[in-house]
């Protein structure tokens, strides 16, 4: 009875020699291919991915999955006897049309491949894209786009092409980072004394500031109202939040506690008549 049913399916021709039976067999091949692809990817994720870096594991997972799907599709086409040559001729003209229409999609796809190969940043790195005004943690480099979690907690999706053509500043590729602040002291104050008290306060209260390299002090400018001193300190890369936003507060406290004047903007006016 089953044989009769299959016989009847093989006699129903759809297009160009493609019978319902061969379509059914092809469907089974594709289904087995998808199940196999998912199983292999699952086994890879469970046993081999932990030994690789996060993004490499993810890319390998995708490669395995889509590789098996493509092989299944090729087996499907050869088993059903579908002749794709006609499709290729038609596809040539159609491809030009589609090519123009999907230019940005293809561009993003190619950029994604190059990003995966070049790896300008890894998953979990903190990055800054100055031209796009984006700073955050890199979550994932996908086929068409990159997901970045901004420091305010929101997630932004950036097309791969934009990332690939942007300047990327990695904030976590080295063990240490530097933070700076600028403070002005009145002209009447002793610069060395001011630097000394700032140095002591940083040493006392900022536990993440590195002892070596030592905090650096540069006389930035003899400005309109006072002498501007730039304070530069190094700290572990993870502790930017413990240093950079607090540095100016610590510097001001040191100057206030020691009675060193931070000048307001001021202008000396000479009376020509006197």
């Amino acid at each position: 009875m089953v044989l009769d049913f299959l016989q009847s399916l093989s006699e129903i021709e759809l297009v160009g020699g493609l019978t319902l039976l061969s379509l059914l067999i092809g469907g089974i091949i594709m289904a087995v291919g998808i199940i196999l692809a998912k199983t292999v990817r699952l086994l890879f994720t469970k046993y081999y991915a932990p030994k690789l870096s996060q993004d490499t594991a993810k890319n390998f997972g995708k490669l395995i999955y889509f590789g098996i799907i493509i092989i299944s599709f090729l087996v499907f086409t050869s088993s059903t006897g579908v002749d794709l040559s006609g499709l290729l001729v038609a596809g040539g003209i159609f491809g030009i049309v589609i090519g123009f229409a999907t230019q940005s999609v293809v561009s993003n796809l190619i950029s994604g491949v190059f990003l995966m190969v070049e790896k300008p940043a890894r998953q979990g790195d903190s990055i800054e894209l100055p031209s796009l005004n984006i700073s955050g943690t890199l979550l994932d480099i996908g086929t068409f786009s990159v997901r970045i979690r901004l420091f305010d907690g929101t997630i932004v999706r950036v097309p791969n092409e934009s990332i690939f053509t942007s300047t990327i500043r990695s904030l976590t590729s080295t063990q240490v980072r530097r933070s700076e602040c600028l403070v002005g002291i009145a002209y009447k104050e002793d610069i060395d004394a001011a630097i000394s008290v700032i140095k002591k306060e940083i040493r006392k209260t900022m536990s993440f500031v590195l002892t070596l390299p030592k905090p650096e002090f540069r006389i930035k400018e003899l400005a309109d109202s006072g002498v501007n001193i730039e304070v530069l300190v190094w700290h572990p890369r993870e502790d930017w939040g413990e240093v950079s936003p607090k540095l100016l507060k610590v510097v001001k406290k040191a100057l206030d506690d020691n009675g060193i004047e931070i000048p307001f903007p001021q202008r000396v006016i000479w009376d020509a008549k006197k």
Partner: protein, 247 residues
């Protein structure tokens, strides 16, 4: 800490069994353990920076046993590295093909461990010298090694540690080069070095530091050397941080 503290002022390292309450006095730090209920104790630590650490400890028995011991100086202000950078206050000059053994101070932190069913669980850790617990970079910013930094004084023997602030470690220096060299700093991974204590003194496993030539490079090779001692071995404190407020 610039001045040496008197031993007698403070509690000692070691095991403490708490029936009702216990107070321990360490430099700039006070620990109070009090019974809250039949099987519950409270743990409160107060330090020089007015930070207060409070924990509630449920126990199976009607008493609580803790161990206070020196631990490796890697946890305060945060765990960032396993390297220690000791800057010798007085550099040691080694002439060609010579060797010397010195004792140097190395910072420590204090670990509090809860003892139950033969296990020692990390309960708390802190430093009695927070203003000197700082990081430094050995090397250049783009490829250097982040280390815990401490100026180190050369002392006479293992008995010369400052209680609860530092330990003493033996450093075997050797110069295999053909010219004399001054050694002013030693950088080494301390995660393999065990810490030992007796009363309020602490010592750390020795290190061997050899100045030698490897191919065309002159290197300073530092390795750990275990010591044989009757001092008590401190438990290890370091552990991985689990998310969701579990530490």
């Amino acid at each position: 800490m610039s001045t040496e503290t008197s031993e007698s002022e403070f509690s000692n390292y070691g095991l403490y069994t708490v029936i009702d309450n216990l107070e321990l006095f360490l430099p700039h730090t006070e620990i109070k353990i009090e019974r809250m209920g039949p099987n519950v104790f409270s743990y409160v630590r107060n330090d020089s920076e007015s930070d207060l650490v409070k924990k509630i400890i449920p126990v199976k028995s009607d008493q609580l046993t803790i161990e206070i011991s020196p631990i490796r100086p890697l946890n305060y202000p945060a765990k960032r590295t396993s390297y220690v950078y000791l800057e010798l206050e007085t550099p040691v000059f080694l002439s060609e093909n010579s060797a010397a053994t010195i004792f140097a101070r190395c910072p420590i932190e204090i670990g509090v461990f809860l003892i139950h069913d033969g296990h020692k669980d990390s309960l708390d850790c802190f430093t009695c010298d927070p203003t000197n617990s700082r990081f430094a970079l050995y090397g250049v910013p783009d490829s250097g090694t982040l280390c815990k930094y401490a100026p180190s004084e050369i002392v006479e023997s293992y008995e010369d540690s400052i209680p609860f602030v530092n330990a003493v470690l033996e450093i075997n220096l050797q110069n295999q080069l053909d010219d004399g060299r001054s050694i002013s700093k030693i950088i080494f991974p301390i995660s393999d070095n065990s810490v030992y204590y007796k009363n309020s003194k602490a010592i750390i496993d020795s290190i061997e530091a050899v100045l030698k030539k490897k191919l065309t490079l002159q290197i300073f090779d530092v390795s750990k050397k275990s010591i044989q001692t009757d001092w008590t071995l401190s438990p290890s404190y370091e552990r991985e941080l689990i998310d969701m407020g579990v530490d």
